[in-house]
Amino acid sequence: MTAISDSPFRAANQYIGKSLPRPGAKRLLAGRGRYTDDIVVPRMLYAAFWRSPFAHARLGAISIEAAAAMPGVHRVFIGADFAAICKPWVGTLSHFAGMKSAPQLPLATEKVLWAGHPIAMVIAETRAQAEDALEAIEVELDELEPVVDIDAAQLPDSTLVYEEAGSNVIFRTRIESGSTASAFEDAEVVEAEFRFGRHTAVTMELRSILADYDPSDGRLTVHQSTQTPYQFHDIYARHFGLSEAHVRVVAPDVGGSFGMKLHLYHEDMAVVGASILTGRPVKFTADRMESFLTDIHARDHRVRARLAISADGMFRGIEVDDVTGVGPFSAYPRTSVVEGNQVVRLIGAAYRLKDYRADLTVVAQNKTQMSQYRAVGHPIACAVTERLVDLAGARVGLDPFEIRRRNYVTQDMYPHKTPSGYSFERLSLEECLDKLHEAMDYEALRKDQARLREAGIHRGIGIATYVEITNPSPAFYGVGGAHISAQDGCVLKVTSSGGIQCLISLSELGQGAEAIVGQIVAEGVGINPNLVRVITGDTDMTPVGGATWACRGAGIGGETALQASKKLKGRILEIAGAILQCSPGKLDISDGQILDQGGNIRMSLGELANLAYFRSDLLPKGIQPELTVAHHYAPSGYPFAFTNGIHGSLVEVDVETGFVKILKHWVIEDCGRILNPLLVDEQIRGGVVQGLGAAFFEECLYSKSGQLLNGSMADYLVPMACEMPDIVIGHVETPTQDTELGAKGCGEAGTAAASGAALNAVNDALSPFKASITQLPMTPERILKALRVV
């Protein structure tokens, strides 16, 4: 099956589904990437920030005179400077009823809300001089009791992070379907309390922004390491009162993003504001400590959950209570509520279940803001569900594969609606399960495990099913009032020699968006991919669109490119038909040649473009030399696409030290139509490793006074080459029927279930000791505690 099923020459032009390397990668391999911090413009100044050392304090006098007089210093700004030109932002959306969040300005004005909150900003000739000047700034801070613990934060006498809210609970919701009370009556019940550590994205490229406001014509140009240029285009225009026509946002090469670079940060607004106020280009690149203190953190949940089962292992109901700490305010413009919302909506989603109840409590704290990061909510929902499933299997004596098989939503049930309200077009749960069983050689693994246990070697095998939300429609953010586009736009131009220029609203973050779009356009038009130039990440050039997040690039952006390319092909054939005096329906394009039905080359695309652009006098009457088309596409069928799959994990637990060696990891995934297997596999692998980081290493540790204790790459442990396993990947393809392309997206599937599978694997290894662990990351100490060794 191919996207262009109507072309007899499709075999010659089939690029969708091929493992083609990314054209842009050669540049990066030669050290010729161009990231935001690499960009230098004339008269550019550098910014550095004076940040609060305290988590919660009232702001007193700020003394900046000495700093302003330091060598190289151009200006020193404080909160009031920007308050005058910047409209505050509030991270709430109307579809999260009752949600509250403190309005934010670029620099703190009355209170500081977390350790790292910027208070003053120095603009100087060099970053070093700006940092020199920071040392001359004096700030009076009157410490307030910090809100740190999620339970203490909810007590009636707790200090309030945002006084006007009247409570530290900024959002609460309940989902209820059927009657869990009756489901739990007389049932077998398995339950657990889970804790999920705070993580942060740790992109290799640090956050960086270069704002250049030209007072002579009132134009603002921003180069920014972001995944969503149009979103920032909108924000800068609205909050600084600029006409959108005068704002340009460019995302050059982006060195990793993972959801972290689509949130608005105080420093972004301060840099734009500083450029407006000084009329000079201003650059800020976070250093690594600043990144740990200010990049969004993620996860941070305590979930209590229980599952009711019948004696034959059939699931009857689930009850969930998720409390999540999100930092001092809700992130903008997506809100910090979405993570928890997805947790409570995705728990149990793969299973037949009618009776479901879930409570979500979102709590403000004096910590770094918490919001969307790769696989938003999924790893939590997956780990909770899949741990309960294993516990249920153990309770009724069913193998992990068998209990899942018995309870999965089955092929005859689609379209299927979950008790939390999600609609599944079609999943491939059982097929993935079977494939994983085979890929792991499960029976052999179990035999090995038993044999090695005799020798005192404790291996564990764990599996975890995921269902992943992708390709969000406006139902995700738009309905709540967010200026976050659910559609994408694509403009295709034939160039004068017969190549194609593709301008698309997606953004390239290294995942290969430009590569797959190039493949789609090449196949859609019938031209070699080397002749397609894909351009992304510049609001002065590309059409408006949502860009890259929530695995939407392939599904929405890809479909947009496909339809645009069909439109362009139609246009080309229309002109060719007029020139060749035959019906366009009897012509086709293959490898850049226009062919007739017999396969004879009638003319090349280059010749056609040459005629159109340089010798339009030779075109038949009434034919305009128009070889540019635009197309926009927004999902209008299911509100979301859902992918699914299953992970397997094999670990070895050293029960004396609590250290875990990850021996191997498997993923069977179904992302719908696979556009480029090479890229899909590497997206999955990278995602798995971030999930394994969550399982074993990554955690933002805070002191009781709200200080981040491991704010460096030496102390916050990201998975490295030595600790990570080889990862086996298999595929099932269930294309969505909502689009012609059928792709659903694959960027988050690796992260969604890796930690859940690892959690089950470690617990499997610990089972002979009657020990269990329900806290991530599973550090040596936590494993030793579970084993009651310490």
Binding site: P21, R22, A25, K26, R27, L28, L29, A30, G31, R32, G33, R34, Y35, D37, D38, V40, A128, A201, V202, T203, M204, E205, L206, D253, V254, G255, G256, S257, F258, T285, D287, R288, L509, G510, Q511, G512, L678, L679, E682, R685, G686, G687, V688, V689, Q690, S712, M713, A714, V718, M720, A721, C722, M724, D726, I727, G750
Partner: protein, 164 residues
Amino acid sequence: MSEQVSITVKVNGSIVRRMVEPRLTLLDFLRRDLGLTGTHAGCEMGACGACLVSLEGRAVHSCLMLAVQADDLSVETIEGLSENGSIADLQAAFFERNALQCGYCTPGVLITARDCLSTGGVPSRDEIRDALSGNYCRCTGYEAIVDAIEVVARMRAANAEGSK
């Protein structure tokens, strides 16, 4: 106290003379003063490997070295190694295997890979992973990088065998 110091460094085969502040790191000297932006800042404390360059033929963190310390020494960056063709096989293997995504760590990873293979022979996958122990990559999951380096090691070994 911040007098400028004159240094002479051989960078990618060319002699470069500059006046620098003593506090300027080799990383900032390469990026800012020489425009060699292929070398990246990641942590400025020697943890991530994004800033690796080759000093007198050995990988070092350019963030943990002052430009003044490189006086009279020879430095090669990703730009120089690309242009002289010495890592062309590694670059090709990384390209084919898609052993990079965002590309930010990639120059540093290539410098490590070059050192790892400099002694000849075919290292085991564990040895390759060990050599990479100081290189963060947040995108790939490392397996593709190990694959690509392994392929080049085998290819070079086969070529060496063939030329005997």
